[in-house]
């Protein structure tokens, strides 16, 4: 299975471990993620006004660079922006002409735009993944935290049921851990309000963490670097047992028995072989 891979800015910085663990797991699962050359930031937020075309230049350039092959990202925000930009290109011919003429690319909205979790669910299958788990996370109580950007708006994202998603719980089950359901799993963490209004983010995050703790979770998984930052940095644990936060891929790599040094060497191997496009 071959995919074009768009990392996004944070995956090369603070969320480097999400990339390393995903790359190692994908390699072991036979999923080839070929990083796009000279990619640019997706813009992080999708412009909600239809005349904000300049914000679409970067994501549409990325969509066109995938050349019709399936395009995978790991960051929930990158996936959100790319998916919605694609939907606009399909729906609004005028916007498409303006953007693609400016970029001098030929793009008509084609190609699958996927989050890596969708690759695991739809292309590999969680049953198949389960067979490849070497060190099941037995006895670990893990809650899924979806946040906003993967799920909403559901008509465009088509990721999962927006009110009662299951994809992350199905992953947790496949990894052999115990699923803990928390009522705040689809609530917003406050997103970029941690930049401008930190008190607001502290309020939303504390509700999410307390809800997970009360449901019996020892840890949460997320697919978004900003959610992770907020969940770890904008929380008052109140002296209670801390709830840990992981990228979904960190638990995936752990359950597949991939050690840290292996992860590093896999990542380096990939970087060296980047131009080779080996099978």
């Amino acid at each position: 299975m071959r995919y074009r891979y768009f990392p996004g800015c944070t995956l090369k910085g603070q969320a480097k471990n999400m990339e390393n663990t995903t790359m190692a797991a994908a390699h072991a699962l036979g999923i080839e993620l070929v990083e796009l050359d000279q990619w640019q930031c997706c813009g992080a937020v999708y412009p909600l006004y239809e005349d904000e075309l300049i914000s679409l230049l970067s994501p549409v350039r990325t969509l066109a660079a995938a050349e019709g092959e399936p395009l995978v990202s790991l960051c929930a925000a990158c996936h959100h922006v790319l998916k919605r930009a694609q939907e606009l290109m399909q729906r609004n011919e005028d916007a498409r002409h303006k953007v693609t003429d400016y970029l001098e690319v030929d793009y008509k909205g084609e190609g699958r735009v996927l989050h890596f979790l969708e690759v695991l669910r739809d292309d590999l299958g969680f049953d198949k993944l389960k067979e490849m788990i070497k060190k099941p996370l037995e006895g670990r109580k893990i809650a899924a935290y979806y946040g906003c950007l993967l799920l909403r708006p559901s008509k465009v994202m088509q990721f999962d049921d927006p009110e009662n998603p299951t994809i992350m719980e199905d992953l947790i089950k496949a990894l052999g851990a115990e699923v803990v359901k928390s009522p705040y799993r689809t609530e917003c963490c406050g997103a970029y309000l941690s930049v401008s209004e930190e008190a607001v983010a502290r309020d939303t995050v504390s509700k999410i963490i307390n809800s997970a703790r009360e449901a019996g979770a020892e840890a949460l998984i997320t697919a978004c670097p900003l959610c992770r930052y907020n969940l770890e940095n904008c929380v008052d644990q109140d002296g209670k047992e801390p709830v840990k936060v992981y990228y979904f891929s960190e638990l995936l790599a752990e359950a597949m028995g991939l050690q840290f040094d292996q992860l590093m060497s896999k990542a380096l191997e990939r970087r060296r072989g980047k131009n080779g496009n080996q099978q």
């Binding site: 944070t10 006004y49 946040g147 909403r152 609530e187 309000l193 401008s196 008190a199 900003l226």
Partner: protein, 131 residues
Amino acid sequence: MATSSKTRLVEEMQKQSGQDPNGCFQCAKCSAACPVTAAMDLLPHQVIRYLQLGLEEELANSKTPWVCASCFTCAARCPRDLDLARMMEGVRLVMLRRREGNKFGPADLTPEQLAKLPQQALVSGFRKYNK
């Protein structure tokens, strides 16, 4: 003055966001769903009501559009299929474009915050509050 502002804001809003605030019947499900109402001076459904009435100056002085995190929960719960997140973006953009200035930028952050915050937070924050 108030009337012409109303027309401009609402007209531009409808054109650019495809959202007609007059479709709202004020059930307030958006306000029940919104996770950040505690920090708002106008509740989400009140923002729509103000748009219906063309109370542009009141909206310009409200904290609410800048507290909105664009989490899209309001739109997901709306029984009228309206997208309030797009209307909030409209209010922000009218202010940002009119002011020809930024609401919030790198100069408002401490060096510690700039070093600690993930790239994604900075890019999305500055994109929402700058033009």
